[in-house]
C-alpha cells in the first residue's frame, strides 16, 4: 500500500519519493503537498465518474518561471506527470482533476501578477493566477476606461485558464482565445518561448499584434499539453459612454420558433448591429437560473413543479414557463456605441424582430426588466461584470452533478433546431431534462447543454455517464463535434475528430514532450 494519495502510472513509490524530495528542495515543503487534505480541492470532480480515476498524487505551487523550468527538469528525470491548472475551477468541464490518476497538480494560482494594463491600446498581460475580478478591480482602481470579456464564473476564474480552454464570454470579445494576444510558455525541455512579437528582444508590440513572423503557434498551446503557459496577453474593450450600452431580452413563446429566431439574429450579428456573443436560452435553463427563491422568498426547484418520475412532461414545462414568466426561448443581447449609434441600431434590431414575430415577441430592456434576476446577471455579463448567478441552476435538480455537453453548430436556422431535437431525444431517453443555451459567435453557435444529475446516487451517475457517451456518439454521427469536454471523455472526444488529427497531436507531443510529463491525457493526447 502506497503512502501517497495516488501514484502516477509507471512511477515506483521509491522514484516518486525521490522526486518529491527534489521538488521540496526546490520550493520547500509548504509548496509541495502530498497530504490528502491539501489535495481535496483537486479531487472535486463533477463529471459522472468516480473521483478515484482522477485522484492526484501531489500539488505544487510555483511562484516563478525559473521554478517551473526547474520543475520540468525534475519531472523529466523521474517521469512524474504535471497537470497544470490556473485558478482550477473549470465548472462543467471537470473542475481541477487531472485526466489520469496520480498526476501532480501544478497549481499556478500563486503566479498572480497583473504585469501590465495598457489603457492607450486596451490590452493586459497577466499571469495564470490572475482572476477576471482582479483585472476588474485593477481597472477600477486606476480609473481606466476599459472592460474585459468574462465567462459565466467570472468572479472566481481567470482569463489564462479560460482562454487556454477556448472558453466563451458574452461581450463583443466573447471568443476569448481569439482576443488573446501573445503567450509566454515553458516547454517540457525547460525552454521559455514568447510567441508572436514576444520573441523579438525589447518588442513593444507583443500584445498589440498576434502574428509575428512564420507559423502562428499560440493555438497549439490551447486545450493541449505541449507547454506550460506562464503569461498571456488579452485585448480589452473600451467601456461605452453613458447611454452607450443597451442590453435587452426578447421572449418567444414557442419552442418551434427557434429557427426563425436564429434566422432573424444572424444578419444582425454578421453586420455587427448585434456585436456581442449573444445567447438564446431554453425555458428550463432560464427557470433553473431563477431557482434560488420564488417571488415569496421560498426556495424553488424542479421539485416545486413536478414530483413524478422521469423527465418533465410538456404540460409541466408549459406551467413552468407561465409561472416563471419566461420564454420558451429567451434571447439576450446588447448594443454598444455612442448613444446615437445605439438608438439607431436599436431601431434596426427591434424592428427586425417586430417585423418577423409581431406580437409573438416580448421585448424587454432595462426599463421593463426592473430587478429581474436573470436580466440583471445577463446585463452584467454582457458588460464584462462579475456574476456567479448562473450557478443557481445547481439547485434545480440537486445532488451536485453537472456536466456540460457542448457541441458546436453552424449558425443556420435548420441546424439550431436539429440539435435541440437530437439532444432532447437522447437526454429524455436516459431520464434527463433538456436545459441549454446557444452562445452565438461569429458564424457558429456553441450549444451548451447542462446535464444535471444527482452525484449522490450511483445509479443516476452511471446513467449520466451513458447519456453523455450517447450524446457524443449521436452528435458525431450527425457531423457535430464538441468544443470542449471533461477529463472522463477527452479520449472519446478526440476520436470523433479522426485518426489523422490524432496523429498530428501525437507527433507534436513526441517532438515537444518526449517523456510525456506534461498533462498526459489532456484532450486525449498522451504517449503512454
Amino acid at each position: 500500500m502506497s503512502s501517497f494519495n495516488a501514484l502516477p502510472k509507471g512511477v515506483t513509490e521509491a522514484d516518486f519519493t525521490k522526486a518529491i524530495k527534489e521538488y521540496r528542495a526546490l520550493m520547500g515543503e509548504d509548496r509541495v503537498r502530498t497530504d490528502s487534505a491539501s489535495l481535496q480541492s483537486y479531487s472535486k470532480i463533477m463529471c459522472p465518474v468516480s473521483e478515484e480515476l482522477h485522484k492526484p498524487s501531489a500539488a505544487m505551487y510555483p511562484k516563478t518561471v525559473k521554478e517551473i523550468q526547474a520543475i520540468v527538469g525534475i519531472a523529466n528525470k523521474y517521469k512524474t506527470p504535471l497537470w497544470t491548472i490556473s485558478t482550477g475551477k473549470n465548472f462543467g468541464y471537470g473542475s481541477a482533476a487531472p485526466a489520469t490518476r496520480g498526476q501532480i497538480v501544478l497549481d499556478l494560482k500563486t503566479m498572480d501578477k497583473i504585469i501590465h494594463v495598457d489603457e492607450e491600446l486596451g490590452y493586459c498581460l497577466v499571469e495564470p493566477g490572475v482572476t477576471y475580478y482582479d483585472i476588474q478591480k485593477y481597472i477600477k482602481k486606476h480609473k481606466m476606461n476599459l472592460m474585459i470579456s468574462v465567462p459565466s464564473p467570472s468572479a472566481i476564474v481567470g482569463p489564462v485558464g479560460n482562454s487556454l480552454d477556448r472558453g466563451a464570454g458574452y461581450t463583443p470579445y466573447g471568443d476569448h482565445f481569439l482576443f488573446s494576444c501573445g503567450m509566454e510558455v515553458v516547454l517540457a525541455n525547460g525552454d521559455v518561448v514568447r510567441t508572436g512579437m514576444g520573441g523579438v528582444p525589447n518588442s513593444t508590440s507583443w500584445q498589440a499584434t498576434k502574428w509575428g513572423s512564420g507559423p502562428y503557434v499560440d493555438g497549439i498551446f490551447t486545450q493541449s499539453n505541449y507547454g506550460i503557459v506562464t503569461k498571456m496577453g488579452f485585448w480589452l474593450m473600451k467601456t461605452p459612454p453613458p447611454g452607450g450600452y443597451l442590453p435587452f431580452l426578447m421572449k418567444f413563446p414557442k419552442v418551434e420558433m427557434l429557427p426563425d429566431i436564429i434566422k432573424t439574429i444572424m444578419p444582425l450579428r454578421l453586420s455587427q448591429l448585434i456585436p456581442n456573443a449573444c445567447v438564446v436560452v431554453n425555458s428550463l435553463l432560464e427557470a433553473a437560473c431563477l431557482c434560488n427563491y420564488d417571488e415569496n422568498g421560498k426556495g424553488m426547484s424542479r421539485d416545486t413543479f413536478y414530483k413524478g418520475k422521469g423527465v418533465l412532461p410538456p404540460h409541466v414545462i408549459q406551467q413552468i414557463i407561465e409561472k416563471c414568466n419566461i420564454g420558451a426561448w429567451s434571447f439576450y443581447a446588447a448594443i454598444y456605441g455612442t448613444p446615437e449609434q445605439v438608438a439607431l441600431a436599436w431601431k434596426y434590431v427591434s424592428g427586425s424582430f417586430k417585423a418577423k414575430f409581431g406580437n409573438q415577441v416580448e421585448i424587454i430592456t432595462e426599463k421593463e426588466a426592473k430587478d429581474d434576476t436573470n436580466f440583471e446577471f445577463r446585463r452584467q455579463m454582457m458588460m464584462g461584470g462579475s456574476s456567479l448567478q448562473e450557478f443557481t441552476y445547481y439547485n434545480w435538480r440537486g445532488g451536485g452533478g453537472s456536466v456540460w455537453f457542448a457541441p458546436v453548430a453552424a449558425a443556420r436556422p435548420s441546424e439550431s433546431y436539429k440539435q435541440v431535437k437530437i439532444a432532447t431525444d437522447v437526454l429524455n431517453k436516459h431520464g434527463f431534462d433538456y436545459l441549454a443555451e446557444y452562445i452565438i459567435g461569429w458564424r457558429e453557435m456553441h450549444h451548451i447543454i447542462d446535464l444535471l444529475y444527482d452525484r449522490t446516487q450511483p445509479e443516476e451517475t452511471a446513467r449520466a455517464y451513458k447519456c453523455y457517451d450517447e450524446l457524443l456518439k449521436v452528435f458525431a454521427k450527425n457531423g457535430y463535434g464538441i468544443y470542449r469536454t471533461n477529463p472522463a471523455f477527452m479520449e472519446k472526444a478526440a476520436d470523433t475528430f479522426g485518426p489523422e488529427m490524432r496523429k498530428i497531436h501525437h507527433n507534436l507531443k513526441k517532438a515537444l514532450d518526449p517523456n510525456n510529463i506534461l498533462a498526459p491525457g489532456k484532450s486525449g493526447i498522451s504517449l503512454g
Binding site: A155, Y293, S301, L388, F391, R397, D454
Partner: protein, 138 residues
C-alpha cells in the same frame, strides 16, 4: 417551531461538527461529548430557505453548546462567495468550528471560497438533494 425531522437533521450536523473539534480531521464523525461542547467557538453559515437564524442559534446551543455565531448567506451567488470567503478568513484564529447548511448552488460558491482561502473540509454531506451540510477545517 421546527419540525422533528429538521431538528434531527440539525442535531446530527451539529454533533458531527463538534466531534470534529476533537478529532481535528477525518471523514467520519463521532458523537459529541459534553466536555468538547464547551470548547466550541463556532461559525455557522446557512441559507434562509433552510431555516431561520433563531432556529439555528437555539439548536446549536442545545445540541452543541458553545459560543456560536450564525450568518445567513443572502444576496446573489457572487455576494455569497465573497461573504463566505470573508467569514472563513475571519474565523481563522478566532474560531475552531466552521460549519454550514446550504443549497447546492450556494455550496458551489462556498466550497470555491474555502478552497480559494486554502481551506479543506472535514466532511461534506448531502442530507437531501438540495441540502448540504459541511464542516471546514480551520
Amino acid at each position: 417551531m421546527m419540525n422533528t425531522s429538521r431538528r434531527a437533521f440539525f442535531k446530527t450536523f451539529l454533533s458531527a461538527g463538534a466531534a470534529l473539534v476533537v478529532s481535528g480531521s477525518g471523514n467520519t464523525t463521532k458523537p459529541a461529548e459534553a466536555a468538547v461542547h464547551e470548547q466550541i467557538k463556532g461559525v455557522c453559515l446557512f441559507v434562509p430557505t433552510l431555516g431561520k437564524a433563531s432556529d439555528f442559534v437555539e439548536l446549536m446551543n442545545t445540541s452543541a453548546p458553545g459560543n456560536w455565531t450564525v450568518h445567513p448567506l443572502e444576496g446573489t451567488l457572487t455576494d455569497r462567495y465573497f461573504i463566505a470567503k470573508s467569514l472563513y478568513e475571519e474565523a481563522k484564529g478566532r474560531a475552531n468550528t466552521f460549519v454550514g447548511a446550504v443549497d447546492p448552488g450556494s455550496f458551489a460558491v462556498v466550497q470555491a471560497a474555502i478552497f480559494d482561502s486554502g481551506g479543506t473540509f472535514h466532511y461534506i454531506t448531502y442530507e437531501e438533494r438540495n441540502r448540504i451540510t459541511f464542516s471546514a477545517q480551520l
